[in-house]
């Protein structure tokens, strides 16, 4: 549509500018950390330990998530049972789940006073500790097993049903189907799933903050945080940021072509009928895998709800204030994401093939570590203002940037479809600018836009990253407050606050997503 005679309005240039701010912010903050980094001092032994730990835990987490996801997704792909749809939908939930809530749930099961250790104690066995490497990996598998399962399930469903029918007429058994159909698909899908999860695990600050620490389990991001908050060593934080930037940059560059929104969104879903998998032992095997995965994912959540419910009514006032601050941050971030998404998507579609460049610019945010962006902003703000006073706006902004690629991936294809179906009609009617947005785009874009807004709100509500760099007690958000209560061993209040956070996040997502669906037009 680049050859259309319609002139490019000012909106297109605003959209181009909006898309450009994303790499600009990343480059600006990268430049800030690079110029502050005291390279001459070099990396201390503890820094090398942090680098090793970051890569090692991300590698282990990605390998385990993908390895476990293969049997689970195979079971889901070839079995139909009651509650299957709910389970597949739930696999998308950890993406929306505030990290601190999940960690609270994991602690309730695997932690010092958790269910697992109580059981070991009954058997007379010594307790296991969740802190350190295995805790970090456990939490990462909890978050990424569902993502890996969805990505691989997609691979299974992309195999045409006719191939399985052909296999059935050739009387192939399960191992022959595996050799001829499943293994080639897995070879194609697994590297991408591994890389995506590896990238995510190198930048998951909140998990390292709560379950890591100490000389043997500190990630680079955690070291940045400690350098900034406790040692106030700006140049060390900057140097570590450069290292982190290099690692995520390389990993994301490798992973970029594999990153799709599919694994995070609703996705399509169908069950392929399989004749090779009718044996009783395979049925039992699949049932066990599905049951184990469901238990692993649901038990921590149930524990978080059960522990939190009694404390909900007695929450201290500080928690409610933190909730209000978080709501403000989440709503500001959502407004930012919706506006930016609309501007960039509209400009991208109007520019036709050249518009792909805008999409790429926006996607670059996936490669950025929010904590490094935050560190850069801290370095830039620190000389002119007290970072704590800007904690909330900065958090809203960085959260928005991080969500933008996902929002864009949800909205852009829908907008392309609208323009393909109705663009010419709108052109002949002279529908441009605001009237086009109001009469054509917004009504038809409600669903994906509502989903994107819900995503932005929930992610921002639950974020425990940049805020940790900037916040003081007067500007704590709800996730920050949960973390503080946990650190102060006020477990009851922490449980109640975590449940409140879970409820608010899910309700926010539900309201926006629902708003896009209600009164849905044909």
């Amino acid at each position: 549509m680049a050859d259309r005679a319609q002139p490019l309005g000012p909106g297109v240039w605003v959209g181009v500018f909006a898309a450009a701010t994303i790499p600009a912010l990343i480059l600006l903050t990268a430049a800030a950390v690079a110029t502050s980094a005291d390279v001459g001092r070099g990396l201390a032994p503890s820094d090398w330990a942090a680098i090793r730990f970051t890569v090692w835990q991300a590698f282990l987490s990605a390998v385990l998530s993908v390895a476990l996801a293969v049997p689970v997704s195979r079971a889901l792909a070839r079995r139909r049972f009651r509650g299957r749809g709910v389970l597949v939908t739930l696999l998308g939930a950890p993406f929306l789940l505030p990290v601190i809530v999940a960690i609270f749930g994991l602690l309730a099961i695997f932690g010092r006073g958790g269910v697992l250790n109580a059981g070991l104690d009954l058997l007379g066995l010594p307790p296991v500790s969740i802190y350190g490497l295995h805790g970090v990996v456990l939490a990462h598998v909890f978050f990424n097993l569902p993502l890996a399962t969805r990505l691989i399930l997609q691979g299974w469903q992309d195999v045409p049903a006719e191939r399985f029918r052909l296999a059935a007429t050739l009387d192939m058994d399960a191992s022959a189907v595996n050799r001829h159909l499943e293994r080639p698909m897995l070879m194609r899908v697994l590297p991408g799933a591994f890389l995506v999860i590896f990238v995510i695990c190198t930048t998951s600050f909140a998990v390292a903050l709560t379950l890591g620490g100490g000389p043997r389990a500190t990630t680079i991001e955690l070291a940045i945080y400690q350098a900034l908050r406790f040692e106030f060593d700006l140049s060390r934080a900057a140097l570590l940021s450069v290292v982190q930037l290099a690692i995520t940059g390389v990993a994301a560059f490798l992973a970029l072509r594999y990153i799709h929104a599919d694994g995070f969104g609703a996705g399509r879903d169908r069950i392929v009928q399989r004749w090779d998998a009718r044996s009783r032992s395979l049925k039992v095997q699949d049932t066990v895998w599905i049951a184990l995965a469901a238990l692993f994912l649901l038990l921590p959540l149930v524990a978080a709800v059960v522990r939190g419910a009694p404390a909900l009514t007695t929450l201290p006032a500080s928690v409610w204030y933190a909730t209000l601050r978080s709501l403000g941050v989440a709503l500001a971030s959502t407004a930012f994401v919706v506006a930016m998404t609309l501007l960039i998507a509209t400009a991208s579609v109007r520019l036709g093939t050249r518009g792909r460049l805008l999409e790429t610019a926006a996607l670059s945010a996936i490669a950025a570590s929010p904590l490094v962006v935050g560190t850069g902003l801290f370095i830039l703000i620190h000389p002119v203002a007290d970072p704590a006073r800007l904690a909330l706006p900065v958090t809203a902004l960085v959260n928005g940037f991080v969500t933008l690629p996902f929002a864009l991936r949800a909205v852009l294809p829908a907008l392309r479809m609208i323009e393909a179906d109705y663009g010419r009609l709108a052109d002949t009617l002279g529908l441009t600018g605001w009237a086009r947005l109001r009469l054509l785009v917004l009504p038809r874009l409600r669903r994906p836009l509502g989903f994107a807004a819900g995503l932005a709100a929930a992610l921002s509500m639950g974020d425990l990253g940049v805020i940790a760099l900037f916040a003081d007690p007067n500007s704590a958000t709800l996730p920050m407050q949960v973390y503080r209560l946990m650190g102060a061993y006020r477990t009851n209040d922490a449980a109640g606050a975590a449940l409140l956070l879970l409820i608010v996040s899910l309700v926010l997502f539900w309201i926006f997503d629902r708003g896009g669906r209600s009164d849905a037009h044909t």
Binding site: A5, R424, T428
Partner: protein
Amino acid sequence: MLTLERVSLTQDDFTLSADLSVAAGGIVAVIGPSGGGKSTFLSLIAGFDTPDEGRIVWEGRDLTGLPPGKRPVAMLFQDNNLFPHLSILSNVCLGAAPVARPSSDVQIRARAALARVGLDGLEDRKPGALSGGQQSRAALARVLLTDRPLVLMDEPFAALGPALRSEMLDLVAEILSDATVLMVTHDPDDALRIAERTIFVSDGNVSPPVPTRALFDEPPEALAQYLD
């Protein structure tokens, strides 16, 4: 008078050339094989495509550089002629002015146009609640309200059955009698039914309009091949 002065447009390995005039008034059929350039011909007049060379002139006014919405052109497409999320009335009102809140004057005119195409009482329905024939009528009502002298139709009734299509053609002939209508069709019977003149488009060449009856009585070779 609509004139395409030595217009040519190349897209990939397809080139359309047109050098012809169409006298104002009446219905002109545009006929020819698929992929011959019928739709591109209409796209050039509507402004979705800009010619590489030549000018497009309507009543002495050069349209070549104008965006689609600024041309004296109303258009009916093969499908997607109505926005499915807006009521029939809102859809028709958009013909008068591309604004979110049409004036009461526009609404009165829209209701009158809907009555003229036989859709009174259905103003508040969404397009999805109407039959295919009713949707075509609603789109025609919008063309009436657009009130532009040149109307382009790209097989707008192709999805309708034969009886319904004849009915719609007669309606077009009746209510758009003041306009100049260029209508793409596959079916010679459609052309014979309402079009006094016919333009034959084939292999990227647009021939000047000739009287329909005479054309089909003694078709040139390319047309004869297409008709067989």
